[in-house]
Amino acid sequence: MAHPSQLGFQDAASPVMEELLHFHDHALMIVLLISTLVLYIIVAMVSTKLTNKYILDSQEIEIVWTVLPAVILILIALPSLRILYLMDEINDPHLTIKAMGHQWYWSYEYTDYEDLGFDSYMVPTQDLVPGQFRLLETDHRMVVPVESPIRVLVSAEDVLHSWAVPSLGVKMDAVPGRLNQTAFIASRPGVFYGQCSEICGANHSFMPIVVEAVPLEHFEKWSTMMLEDA
């Protein structure tokens, strides 16, 4: 989850998010190199005592500063497109979960085998137990088996919402009347937090998402327990 004064991304919990992190490092390095070069040139131009009034053009430097930016852009575009197509691939999911956005909570439906459904409300601040995170905890978490491809079908029952979990590299708009599909694989067991990412009314900031990745046996025990409780 996010921590105070954080500057970068949260640690990746899925292979796609790892790819995104590496691509971000790649693009940011290019940007920093270019910015450093430009800053250096600005300072050098401003602080020199040399003056030369007789250069009017130069074909060589024009070739360089046409070809080099084009090559840099291609070097950014190719990994970017690769990740884009990778994120869109159908990856034979083991489990399909429906995440429905309401004002102002999420509800999750696991209907592959039995009819399991539950709502997930934020834990109010005054009800927090020491160790829990303010505005991020929910009463019921979306439990998934670790290292399994999961398909999430996202929709909304009233207004626009958006289902986002940054550490899994997932964000998908919840549009009423429309079914959006996204998928992820949780590479490691853990608890991953996210928040609703589309303005949806008064409590838009207070409908978080918590995904808990557990080993398969624990997932089976949890779903049996949830079905019995319902």
Binding site: A70, L81, R82, L86
Partner: protein
């Protein structure tokens, strides 16, 4: 006109990369348009082949580029009409 352009290019060789990249971009856009036209997205013959997108194989690669996907393993999931 080509002789005028090539004569002017000899005295301004810095314009050659410009031609390369703009030309490359035009060629790539044209090639993608051609790929769309030849694929199952367009119906050229309203009477003979009205909806070619309904006749694709389950193993047809719809995306332009595949990273990890093995299309030969996909099977048809719906019923035949």
């Amino acid at each position: 006109m080509l002789s005028t352009v090539s004569r002017q290019l000899k005295s301004h060789p810095a314009l050659v990369p410009l031609f390369i990249f703009i030309g490359g971009g035009t060629v790539m856009s044209g090639a993608y348009l051609l790929r769309l036209a030849m694929g199952p997205h367009v119906s050229w013959n309203r009477n003979g082949n009205p909806e070619p997108w309904n006749k694709t194989e389950p193993t047809h690669q719809h995306k332009f580029y595949k990273v990890n996907m093995d299309y030969s393993k996909l099977k048809k999931e719906g019923p035949d009409f």
